[in-house]
Amino acid sequence: MVKTVPQLTLWAVFVDKDGDSTSDSNPGSQIPKEVAGLKVRAVGLKAGTSQEDRIGQLAGELAAEWEAHPDRVVVAWAVDRPTGVSLAGLDLTTGNLLAVSSQVAAEGAIRALLAGRSVASLVYPPLFTPAKALEQAGLGPAADGERWRIRVTQEPRDQWLEITAEGVSVSAEGLTPLERAAIEERTGPLKATGPGAGRHLLIGSANWAGQGRAWAQAVGDHIPGFTAWNYQLRMARGIVFDSDCMVPIEDFHSPVVRADLALNLIAPASHILVEDLRLLTGQGSLRDGHTMGRLARSEWRVLRDSGRRVAVLLHGTIARDPAIHRSLYPWSPYWDEGSSAFKDQMALVQNTAAALAELEVPLFTATLDMLDYLDNARWLPIVASPADFAPAPPWAAGGKLRVAHAPSSGLLKGSEFVDALLSRLAQQGVIEYVPVRGVAPELMPGLLRQVDVVVDQVVLGNPATLLIQTMAAGRLGVAHVSGRVRRRFPAELPVVEADPSSITEVIASIAADPDSYRHLAEAGPVFARRFHDGRLSAAVLDQHFLSDGGES
């Protein structure tokens, strides 16, 4: 493609406070005559006018500029903050106006445009992926080869974005000129993997407890010839886990970002593991990428029809039927059918069931208690990281027993019981209570090594990530895991049973006679290594999804 250097003009826009360009207090007095070799036109906006008037003034000046020079690209530099807001109120989607908020940005943009970059590429730089990093380092596949591309079509469609075995296409309808230009410029990764080609798994987009990343690592480590990435759509504040590709939700509204996701993450995938019905690219709607459920189902259908194999992983909450849970667990948080907690949970579960009924795909779940709610789901074990298995100090080596609990959504863990009971035991001098809040994932393995006992959930019945990490660290886990669920494990689960009625007695017993429980603490790393170090998880995915003989 021949790159043409556009005609450029640079405007330095400011609020002209007093009409005196020599006055120190007037931003206009600080504007240099030239920036990056381009003469600067100072554009003063009338002080004391409304933003609407200033935007109108700017729009008029721009219209005059383009009438005189239709092909000219205007780089507008907001010299002061109010001007930035004025520029933001203009139509910045046409591709012939780049608005920036600093002199550095103006200089950089001018140099880039003069070197042949487009306004579109400055506004919408391509999505960064590990594949691009490998190419930079000269470690990717050979650079000359066919690449995945996006085709922009004129035809209006129900789905603005389509993914097929051959590539990605988007409908131009509804795209701004700038978005269209950005998408048309995109090139994707080399076609080394994809449906019918090399084997590459994409897991997305929840990454709860970092497990999306962990399963991807397990596949890459243990299935020869397979690569795997995870992708996380970051929806809210909270602890941030490692991920191969992380997109904040505020970026997800952009069709360019979502087209990028399709091009760089979906297209190269031969297999896609969808977590918790989460959207991957929001294909159904051009602008509203937030809706889950209905749109997610149409997305999976499209992906499967594209020749890619799709499976679903349900972590827990999204499928835990409150009526069933209430019948199985005496301390169920869903004990009141009339409560909003019950009703909300039931609505969620019904939506999940409807989605699964529409599309027959392999179904996995991370914890064995979920088999009470899901037919035909297979256990995909949670994966503990290498750091979780680092050598730990001897268990209960002396002194007061250190007992940790990570209070989270109290409704689901029973933290309202545990926190109070452990605090009382600490006040009585029986234990040292270590509440764990907001701990970064990097620090959790080290923290676990500093305690003796971890009390996980005592009402829900799910043996989840923290319990697995506790076992890997050789610490003693205490949780409510029913006998029915324990029998589903391939070996005896080395976790002490407790619920709100017994937790005090259990902890006191451990504190009084830790040696009686030592064998369980020591069995933890063996258990975790056997079932939760990634090998079994990779094997499950391989057997039931990834390999040619797996379920389609």
Binding site: E135, G138, S243
Partner: protein, 450 residues
């Protein structure tokens, strides 16, 4: 070289320099790296070049070019100084609260009068703890991309060592993650402090988040390096269990910046001297203090009456307190013009805020010029370690405009100090950065059993 024309995979694995033995594979994590032209760029540049000179295969992980070109500032001529054998991988820095491209501002930002909404700032800060001195710094947003990149690179071709230089602390996050996943050893090189203010020595108000992370870094690191003795000693006290892992690896001056000796310009007793402050003067720079001292000095000394005080380097122009006679802001000059700047200078001015933990990288270069240096700094400022025993050093006896003026007058009366210039230059030889790094990396290699 411009952004559009930078070749991908610059340097590649390249040939090892003639005579050197094939070394180890080292990942050097430095958010800021050429073309980044901001403060602290020279140190990682010199470090990776020193490693390459020793025969190691160095891959640098840095932020992407647009982050420098469009936000923090860039100088593409600096990339010519990168050793040919070094591979630079540029990892996208999500723009977040520092996005200067208004076309890209979200609706939330437009509605917030152009400011990044606080809840979105907190989203960034949830990712990783950075010192509170940069409360809205964007660096944590870089970490997920950087971690994924380090992992992919290591998986393709394993590294033997990771060196992460901070700030930003996000660089350390990369080393920690790769070590946790693969066990590859790492060194943290703190050129600023993650937990303690180098100005006061006190913990940052927000250090409750960062201290546990630094403790973990100490526990897992092969070594932790500090840029000067006061910072090293502070951390030896605060993290005593790991004191044996702490090393001092000072900043220094680069021979490339001073390719030939700076010769004294003026004749003895000559009026109309050029007094220069070379470097970045932030909004915290004590403008009133310096300009007051200058006017006093000019009033006292016929030699200075017609002399000029010039600030060369980035400066926020609106902080100059009005117009002063014979004071000018010359703005930044490219690094390749530094020798010319020094050659046109008769007296260098070193005025630094901050306390005993700070050194200021600039003092090493000043010292190497051999020019008379006038200084004003607190009694325990670490720059005194650099200047102690140096000829042609005129230190203000007290932190008052009068004391600084007296030092300026004394320097003017001694300038150019031709007889003492060679000794002044020689005094700085020990701080040549390539020699500092050569020594540091030699001990590191030995400690690793290489």
């Amino acid at each position: 070289m411009t952004p559009a024309s930078e070749p991908p995979g610059r340097g590649g694995l390249g040939p090892v320099e003639s005579g050197a033995v094939p070394g180890k594979r080292i990942l050097y994590v430095s958010w800021g790296f050429p073309p980044f032209s901001g403060s602290g760029m020279a140190n990682p540049l010199a470090a990776v070049n020193a490693l390459a000179t020793r025969g190691h295969q160095v891959t640098v992980l840095s932020a992407d070019s647009d982050a420098f070109d469009l936000v923090s500032g860039s100088d593409w001529s600096l990339t010519d100084r990168i050793s040919q054998s070094v591979t630079v991988v540029r990892v996208d820095q999500p723009r977040a609260m520092l996005d200067t491209v208004i076309n890209r501002w979200s609706e939330a930002r437009r509605r917030n009068a152009g400011d990044y909404p606080q809840w979105m700032c907190e989203l960034v800060h949830d990712i990783f703890p950075e010192p509170v001195a940069n409360p809205w710094a964007w660096y944590p947003a870089w970490l997920p991309n950087a971690r994924a990149t380090a992992r992919a690179l290591h998986q393709a071709r394993p590294f033997d060592l990771v060196i992460a230089t901070i700030l930003p602390a996000a660089s350390a996050g990369v080393a920690l993650a790769l070590n946790a996943a693969t066990g590859v050893p790492f060194v943290i090189y703190e050129r600023d402090s993650w937990v303690f203010s180098p100005f006061t020595g006190e913990p940052y108000p927000d250090s409750g988040r960062s201290r546990p992370m630094l403790e973990m870094a100490f526990e897992r690191a092969h070594q932790v390096w500090y840029i000067n003795t006061p910072l090293a000693d502070l951390h030896r006290r605060e993290f005593a269990a790991w004191a044996d892992r702490i090393r001092e690896v000072r900043n220094g001056w680069d021979p490339e910046s001073l390719p030939r000796p700076v010769e004294p310009r003026a004749r003895a007793g000559q009026a109309g001297l050029v007094v220069r402050y070379v470097g970045t003067s932030s909004r915290q720079f004590p403008w009133e203090f310096v300009t007051s001292a200058w006017q006093l000095a000019r009033a006292q000394s016929p030699l200075l009456r017609e002399s000029v005080l010039e600030f060369v380097g980035p400066a926020p122009a609106d902080r100059m307190p009005g117009d002063f006679d014979h004071v000018t802001l010359a703005g930044p000059r490219p690094r390749e013009e530094l020798w010319d700047v020094y050659s046109g200078t008769d007296i260098l001015l070193f005025v630094k805020e901050g306390g005993g933990m700070a050194t200021s990288g600039k003092i090493y270069e000043y010292a190497a010029t051999g020019l008379p240096i006038v200084s004003s700094m607190v009694a325990d400022h670490d720059a005194r370690h650099v200047l102690a025993g140096r000829p042609l050093w005129f230190d203000a006896a007290g932190h008052t405009p009068e004391a600084l003026a007296a030092a300026l007058v004394a320097a003017a009366e001694r300038a150019p100090g031709v007889e003492e210039t060679p000794a002044a230059r020689e005094h700085a030889e020990r701080f040549r950065r390539d020699q500092v790094f050569s020594s540091a990396f030699a001990q590191l290699e030995e400690s690793l059993g290489w």
